[in-house]
């Protein structure tokens, strides 16, 4: 009972936070099902339902759900008495209307608590129901949510098609979003689909006892990759643009992966190499007065990569002796130095200063200009494929093993005869090459480079995405990039709240899966080895071991 109450309070605090920050109201502006359910209302229901599910037993579920609503109801009561929005700007009249459904505070409190109880009960029921029901309900509701929230994107993608697809689209969607009939249709379709899929999988599992896991994973990865490759051609230029940004970050992630994941060199100045690649390409190809030469893109790109490697080595030289977190600060400093230089008036005669360098032409193959996002996406894809191949080969080479020895313990590695200087410099240089390539494509994609594009935030983003994806693993980089770069781009309409979600995602991900979404096998063994030894020791409350 107490547990249910605590769970409820925790979720309730979350609801109050969402309300106070203004996310709830912003989500309320978004229909999932037009004229029936908004994203904000769905979020509240989800919170209460989640509390109920965690409480397990039905009765407790209802209680947990009701208690989830209590803090919010209290806030409601206070808001109706005292105007709080002079201090907390999000607690406005609109929020009050949303919470009370326009019916006044007393009714609002009742609705919240009653609704919370019902949702909590529902959550608990769902939790305790049979797999059959769960397999139907979860995919169904998730499909409705996706179809409703991303309706603009989906409608954009389906705009191009007339005929049966167009009719289906018109049936399911209105101009505002998902219609009620559309929601029901999608729910039913998704539920059926998931039941069938579940059935098929169970049949296959019964037949292939002890199947080949790796092959399964490879096949699934292959299918996902194929979808990714074909998607922009099918879905239009906006998706192509987003995927291209994802692709650039994948390139950078692979580079940083070499430095951080393999060689253990915590580099927070990675954006500097990106900037070098971009500015080199700009200076070598631009049509404006700043250009040093007028080379075609295909010549400028390898030169930019080479320059990035040189800069990478130059970076690495001073900080060879610096280790661990000191290295993080030193590299961060180097990154910031590059940023300040490209923006400065001092370097402006060469680098364009605050105005940047404009009029960078797009790449051409003969008479064909790679102008559209889709074609540039394929360029990025090819570059990523090449880079992935190089990274994979490096990982399994002598150099890669030297890096891993370096990461585990520098002194021992040196004692084993590994030339630390060479290994570190190669790590910086090769990592920089990937970033330089990404920068080169970035410059030609935007047709201009501005110094404001090269902030510390980019280095942090790349680091975050390789850790969330799974450090040291290439599929992890791809996944991390999609989750941390692709999703915020798609959610741009929520404005700055996407950074709130970004931060929350980082925290939750690291707590639930610190090894990343798709960790390399080595990593997973390392991380959970510690768990195993602790578990083996008598199962008593382990003393928290000192950080290694």
């Amino acid at each position: 009972m107490r547990r249910a109450a605590l769970i409820g309070l925790g979720f309730g605090a979350g609801a109050v936070h969402l309300a106070a920050v203004g996310v709830l109201l912003a989500m309320h502006q978004r229909w999932i099902i037009v004229d029936a359910l908004t994203l904000g209302q769905a979020a509240l229901l989800l919170l209460a339902g989640g509390a109920g599910a965690m409480a397990q037993r039905q009765v407790f579920g209802a209680v947990a759900g009701a208690i989830t609503a209590v803090p919010l109801a209290a806030l409601l009561a206070v808001m109706s008495l005292v105007p709080l929005n002079s201090v907390f700007i999000a607690l406005s009249h609109d929020l009050l209307d949303m919470l009370t459904l326009g019916l006044g505070p007393a009714a609002g409190v009742a609705i919240l608590i009653g609704g919370g109880a019902i949702a909590g009960l529902g959550g608990a029921l769902l939790r305790n129901s049979s797999p059959l029901v769960r397999r139907a309900v979860f995919p169904g509701t998730i499909s409705i949510a996706v179809a409703g929230v991303f309706q603009e994107l989906i409608q954009l993608m389906l705009q191009q098609y007339e005929g049966p697809v167009g009719d289906f689209r018109d049936f399911v969607y209105t101009w505002e979003g998902l219609s009620l009939q559309g929601a029901i249709t999608i729910f039913v379709l998704a539920a059926l689909f998931s039941e069938v899929l579940g059935f098929v999988w169970r049949m296959r599992a019964e037949r292939n006892v002890g199947g080949d896991h790796r092959r399964e994973r490879m096949i699934r990865a292959g299918i996902a990759l194929a979808i990714l490759i074909v998607l922009p051609a099918v879905a239009g230029s906006y998706v192509g643009q987003v995927l291209m940004l994802v692709g650039l970050y994948i390139l950078m992630g692979m580079g940083l992966n070499l430095e951080v994941g393999l060689a253990g060199l915590l580099d927070l100045g990675f954006v500097a190499f990106f900037a070098v690649g971009a500015y080199s390409t700009a200076l070598l190809t631009a049509g404006s007065a700043h250009a040093l030469a007028d080379l075609p893109f295909w010549m400028a790109m390898p030169i930019s990569v080479l320059l990035a490697v040189v800069v990478g080595v130059l970076f690495g030289l001073p900080v060879l002796g610096v280790r661990g977190d000191y290295l993080a600060v030193a590299t961060m400093g180097l990154g910031e130095i590059v940023r300040v230089i490209v923006q400065s008036d001092f370097a402006a005669p060469l680098l364009g200063g605050a105005q940047g360098i404009l009029e960078i032409p797009k790449p051409r193959i003969g008479n064909f200009v790679l102008g559209s996002p889709v074609s540039l996406f394929y360029l990025t894809l090819v570059a990523s494929a090449v880079a992935a191949f190089v990274a994979w080969r490096l990982e399994n080479s002598r150099l890669g093993r030297a890096w891993e020895a370096l990461r585990d313990d520098e002194d021992v590695a040196q004692a084993l005869g590994i030339n630390l200087i060479r290994a570190k410099l190669l790590a910086y240089g090769l990592g920089a090459a990937f970033a330089g390539l990404a920068g080169s494509i970035f410059a030609t994609m935007l047709t201009s480079v501005y110094p404001s594009s090269f902030q510390l935030l980019i280095s942090i983003n790349v680091l975050a995405l390789i850790i969330v994806g799974g450090m040291g693993s290439l599929p992890g980089v791809v996944l991390g990039s999609i989750v941390l770069i692709g999703l915020p781009e798609l959610l741009r309409e929520f404005g700055e709240y996407r950074y709130l979600f970004y931060g929350a995602v980082l925290i939750v991900m690291m707590r639930l899966r610190p090894e990343g979404l798709w960790p390399s096998d080595v990593r997973q063994r390392e991380l959970h080895a510690a768990d195993e030894t602790l578990a083996l020791d008598a199962g008593a409350d382990a003393v928290p071991a000192q950080p290694r």
């Binding site: 906006y238 643009q241 605050a354 105005q355 935007l446 047709t447 201009s448 501005y450 594009s453 700055e496």
Partner: protein, 411 residues
Amino acid sequence: MGALLKWSAGVALLCASQAAMAATVGPVTDDLGVIRIAKGAPIQIGAYWVLSGADTALGLDEKRGVEIAFKDVGGKLLGHPLKLNAEDDGCNAEGGQTAATKLAANPQTVIVLGPACSSAATPGAPILWQQGIVDICTACTAPALTASTRKKEYDGFARTVFSDAEQGKADATYIHNVLKAPSVVTIHDGSPYAQQLQQVMADNFKQMGGKVLSQEAIAPTDVDMKPLLTRIASEKPDLIYFPVFTAAAAQIVRQARGTPGLEKTKLMGGGSLLSADFIEAAGPGVVGFIIGYPDLSPEAMGQNYPKFVDEYKKAYNEAPISGYHANAYDGAMLAIKAIEKVAKTDKDGALYIGKKALRDAVFAIKFDGISGPIACDQYGECSQFKPSVLEFTSSDPKTFGVGKNPKKIWP
């Protein structure tokens, strides 16, 4: 795998080449293509502004200006509802490109308003024009965008806001001829807008015979201006010109008061400081602070400007939060008038708009907007710039009102 890639490349080629093409749809023939809006479907007007980050007020203010314009025409045009698809471009180039790509990918986008930042317009406008979509900018002031040397890919770009080439010249004229200050120091914050504006001002000032003692720079997030101001004090300028944004400008105004040597130096800023927030942030030193800005007095502006401000206050519970709402309103009205002029309805109630015809209409229409008369020249400069200088009279943010505090002191 290779075959798959080749097939994909082929499809990509097909999609890539789907730029604006001549077409005849319904009763309209057009060189750049025709948009058909079904009966009852909304007329989708795209927009991209800075709607997040430190400059949110800039973009939000313009969005509101457009929303009021829509409201003033009743929310409908030719029997179709007006729908605003506003995207956030974050006031940078990647954001501008992504937002423009999204708007361009929607075949129902009739015309686009915005952005707020020139760095977003530079990649954004060509992307839109490639699909034949006109981009009416509401706050981007970079001279290059409507210069006679601009490239063909900007043919679809017009703006209802002045060019910094004129603003800088006007400021230099004021400082040299009216204030008769012999020497200035300029400060910019590393943004393309501020750097270019102060450069234009400095160049013009030098041409007129004034002396530019030095051109300094800060980062927009800098708070400690005292070392810089002490350094400037040692040069003994007569005026410091800093067209930077609210946070940094407020720091300069505050800290200049306490810097020995700068007590008599005049301070001048730019148009981004037209807000109550600035008065609050700058403190008591704001009294006597001047900014160069287009003439906003009723005699210079359209007479409807005060009415617009009242409508704004009623709808959003606060006075306009930045300086370009009137330009946004006029941009929206220009778009609406152009659509009205060229759209044709067929007997089923569907609407047809020719893209080239729309572009020509935008460049041809003349009317009196609330920010002044609107008439586009061949390079897309649609606003008639009338310079003025405003001075802040009180440090109480509640007294903020364009024309009151700050009030016009020149011409």
